[in-house]
């Protein structure tokens, strides 16, 4: 008998290769058996190798766009995505039964199947019109999958007692990095298509190829993130009931301040945003009784192969009641054995709330800022009046650091945290600047 989750009653049944929902009362044995025996298509795709790209390849390919290359790009995306999804599906199938039946995981499994089926049946793209439809289709898929991250995080957190930490973390890593890679492929193609047709998205006139900004100025990104955080300090409202800030920590930038390189702006800014958010929050929490807050110091360095960014704060360090970990790298872990906070009620509650919203969690700065601005509007018009409700719009699902780590390592960078307990934390972010590393996904 197959029973999935306690509050989520959906069965997988496969007929003609499509997934349909049936109520709990129907015959279950046959449905799952069909699903089992129809796994062949999946196995076919899963046996193919993913073809990984480097940042350079993504840029070079997109520089001289013509219709022919656009079709090539579209069909590359069309055939590559189902292979990558197939790998993830096989990964999910290999997880212990008890894990996949946790709240949230089943939903992700279903979403992935649906995407796999749709993609593998999509006909080849030969004209610009077809490409436009394809881009719409891709956009729809991306939106549909927005709840994946909170759902899978919730499910795997709940499953933490049933999986050894290494397996759990490596599974989550493979899921998240593959997800990022698929988004990159899809969004890059959509951006290239829009650029080709002349409908460029808002890029502030900065030079770019698709979603890759070829002259990304690090200092400008840091200052943008700092400004956004100052303007929307809803990160203050949390369980510690701190008073409203009358001032917030400044962000000082030093080093090779003119450093620019080619990178995906969304990724860089997400990482910096999350790290600055942590630093500012910690600084505020540690010093809020004082008149002035010590600044957060950002040092930008252009090395031979990497761009280095060090973020130094005086927020008291990482060993606090909130972070019950043995060493800083455990903050990247999803296992409660390494990071006790994963199974906190408040954490799980936030994950549940994020999972139930279709808007989900995509992992960009704009998404978070958009939510806050909406909440502020509602606050100013009296629709929301208390901190708890505002917090609902920014649930602390505790995923900032693990996601930052995945974004960083996607093209071969590194993220290290080191704590000076009692004083502050230093974060070392290194991103490769030559664009020669292959995507860090499983092949």
């Amino acid at each position: 008998m197959l029973k999935i989750g306690c509050s989520y009653r959906t069965l997988f049944s496969a007929s003609n290769g499509t997934i349909t929902h049936r109520s709990v009362n129907s015959t279950r044995h046959q449905s799952t058996a069909l699903h089992f025996y129809q796994n062949k298509q999946l196995e076919l795709y899963a046996s193919k190798q993913a073809s990984r790209l480097t940042l350079r390849q993504l840029v070079f390919f997109g520089r001289k766009m013509n219709e022919d290359r656009l079709m090539k790009s579209a069909n590359y995306v069309r055939t590559e995505l189902p292979v990558r999804i197939a790998h993830r599906l096989r990964d999910l199938q290999a997880l212990p039964f008890i894990v996949v039946t946790q709240e949230g995981v089943g939903r992700v499994y279903e979403l992935y199947w649906s995407a796999f089926e749709k993609l593998r049946r999509y006909p080849p793209i030969t004209t610009l019109d077809e490409n436009e439809k394809f881009c719409e289709f891709l956009g729809g898929l991306l939106n549909e999958h927005a709840p994946v991250i909170p759902n899978i995080t919730l499910g795997l957190s709940l499953a933490s007692p049933h999986l050894p930490p290494e397996s759990l973390d490596s599974f989550m890593r493979r899921m998240l990095v593959s997800r990022i890679s698929r988004r990159v492929l899809a969004e890059h193609h959509i951006a290239l298509s829009e650029g080709f047709v002349g409908r460029g998205q808002r890029t502030d006139g900065e030079p770019h190829v698709g979603i890759i900004f070829t002259g990304l100025n690090v200092k400008r990104s840091v200052e943008r993130c700092a400004r956004l955080l100052r303007e929307s300090p809803i990160w203050i409202y949390d369980e510690e009931n701190l008073p409203d800030p009358s001032c917030w920590p400044e962000v000082h930038v030093e080093g090779h301040v003119n450093t620019s390189f080619a990178y995906i702006r969304e990724h860089l800014e997400y990482i910096i945003f999350e790290l600055l958010k942590n630093s500012m929050h910690a600084t505020y929490a540690h010093h809020h009784k004082e008149k002035t807050l010590p600044a957060v110091q950002v040092t930008i360095v252009a090395g031979e192969h990497d761009v280095g960014i060090r973020i130094s704060d005086q927020g008291g360090g990482l060993r606090t009641a909130r972070n019950r970990v043995k060493n800083p790298a455990d903050l990247f872990s999803f296992s409660h054995l390494r990071n006790e906070a994963r199974l906190d009620d408040s954490r799980l509650g936030a994950l549940r709330s994020a999972s139930s919203q279709q808007a989900g969690f995509v992992g960009t700065v704009d998404e978070q800022v958009g939510r806050w601005q909406k909440a502020r509007k509602q606050e100013s018009t009296g629709l929301i009046t208390d901190g708890a409700a505002i917090q609902q719009t920014h649930p602390r699902i505790g995923i900032g650091l693990p996601m930052s780590n995945i974004y960083t390592t996607y093209f071969g960078g590194s993220l290290d945290l080191i704590s000076l307990d009692g004083w502050g934390t230093d974060v070392y972010l290194r991103l490769p600047k030559l664009g020669k590393n292959l995507e860090g996904i499983e092949v």
Partner: protein, 445 residues
């Protein structure tokens, strides 16, 4: 005992590893076999080596000196006389376990001989039951410590010459063990010397916080100032300029520690930071005299239990971060700076055509001499260091590329840590965590 004449004749003979018999007219015939130690010594070694270890922890060691009374001093000497020979036996055995050809190296064999002697002296010493006897013993112990002061440079020289007979890992494993063993021997010996002296001499003002060699109120700031001025002089004398030193954080913090250990660690790290800063900015701006060098910033963070947590029996640490703008180290080289790095040391480094990418820290591999004069061949390392008197007051350890690995061993000895992070093209940070010894009672010596 290898005859000294062998070493001399080796220099006259062609450098092929074989001695010409024609030389035998001048000197006694050389010996290919290493001599057997005397039977008595061999027996003693076996006995001590197989004695079950009496692991003492720090609390017990300190208890000999707190308070300093004749009973505790006699207990201390009893412990010293039983523990030291055992540790020295370990050292002798590990030297004897080295490949034979390495053992015939004059420097290595000198070490082996010295340790055998010290071991025999301590192992055959009659028990001490009076304070007068202890006074005499303390004098001899001090001489012994002095005799072994240059062990590490001697070993370094020996291993450098033997680099083709042992892998870097074998060498570093041996050195790690040797240095850790040395730290413990000195700890026990010097603790006993200090405890004896505390009894015989009235307490000096300002010394009241000492329990033997542990200063219960060690001030990182005063240590930093002391080491800082030494390194500043050294740096200005050899490189022409030196960066300012800034202390921030909780500058008044104190903790219980062994000041000599902290002194060694700080000096090594500051030497790295100062030299790197001067060289990096020298390269950038051509000259170092007229520009303001960026400071080396040291942040002190006192030990305290984590504010939000319930009181636990967790250890407390004092943290020190040393931040410089010395140009940093490339990620690919970060592992090398902790190795004893024989393969690039001295002669052959240039011959290999190896592009030493370690930046300012690469000098550590080749020996301090390289930083001063370009590419000095290996044979001159000791000459450079001894000749220029560079390391006055700190022995000749410095400049051999041992600073960081040894500092890390010292930091880890009581359960602390030393971590290194770098921004290539800008500078480096060293994070030092030292265990507070008043709460480290369970630390094994």
């Amino acid at each position: 005992m290898i005859l000294l004449r062998t070493a001399t004749s080796a220099r006259r003979a062609p450098q092929r590893g074989s001695f010409r018999l024609g030389q035998s007219r001048r000197c006694a015939s050389f010996q290919r076999k290493a001599p057997q130690p005397s039977l008595q010594v061999a027996e003693l070694l076996t006995r001590y080596e197989s004695t079950p270890p009496r692991p003492l922890n720090l609390a017990q060691l300190l208890s000999f000196g707190h308070p300093a009374m004749s009973d505790s001093v006699l207990a201390s000497v009893k412990y010293t006389l039983s523990e030291l020979p055992r540790r020295l036996a370990t050292r002798v055995r590990s030297l004897e376990a080295l490949p034979f050809i390495v053992g015939t190296n004059p420097y290595v064999s000198k070490m082996l001989h010295a340790y055998r002697e010290s071991f025999t002296f301590l192992a055959t010493h009659e028990p001490i039951t009076t304070l007068e006897g202890n006074e005499q013993f303390v004098q001899q112990l001090q001489d012994l410590v002095q005799k072994h002061a240059n062990d590490i440079p001697t070993m370094a020289k020996g291993f450098q010459e033997c680099s083709q007979y042992m892998s870097p890992k074998q060498i570093s494993d041996f050195l790690d063990g040797a240095i850790r063993n040395r730290i413990s021997v000195r700890l026990i010996a010097e603790q006993h010397i200090a405890v004896s002296q505390a009894l015989s001499q009235p307490t000096q003002p300002g010394q009241s916080a000492y329990v033997g060699i542990v200063d219960m109120r060690c001030s990182p700031r005063s240590m930093i100032n002391m080491c800082g001025s030494f390194v500043t002089e050294l740096c200005e004398a050899t490189l022409g300029a030196s960066p300012p030193l800034v202390i921030d954080g909780f500058a008044d913090a104190t903790f219980a520690y062994v000041p000599v250990h902290l002194e060694y660690i700080l000096t090594e790290i500051l030497k790295n930071s100062f030299r790197a800063t001067v060289e990096h900015h020298g390269r950038q701006h051509g000259s170092v005299q007229s520009i303001a060098l960026p400071p080396v910033v040291i942040t002190i963070v006192p030990p305290r239990l984590y504010p939000d947590s319930e009181p636990t029996k967790e250890s407390t640490y004092l943290s020190i971060r040393i931040r410089d703008q010395g140009g940093g180290v490339a990620p690919s080289n970060t592992a090398r700076i902790f190795s004893y790095a024989f393969t690039t040391a001295g002669r052959g480094a240039e011959a290999n055509g190896e592009d030493d990418d370690g930046g300012p820290y690469a000098a550590q591999h080749v020996g301090g001499g390289a930083a001063i004069s370009e590419g000095s061949p290996g044979g001159h390392i000791f000459g450079e260091i001894a000749g220029k008197g560079l390391q006055a007051g700190m022995g000749t350890i410095a400049g051999l590329g041992y600073g960081l690995p040894m500092s890390r061993l010292y930091a880890k000895y009581f359960g602390g840590s030393l971590e290194f992070f770098s921004l290539e093209g800008w500078g480096s940070d060293v994070y030092l965590k030292l265990r507070c010894l008043d709460e480290a009672g369970d630390s094994k010596i």
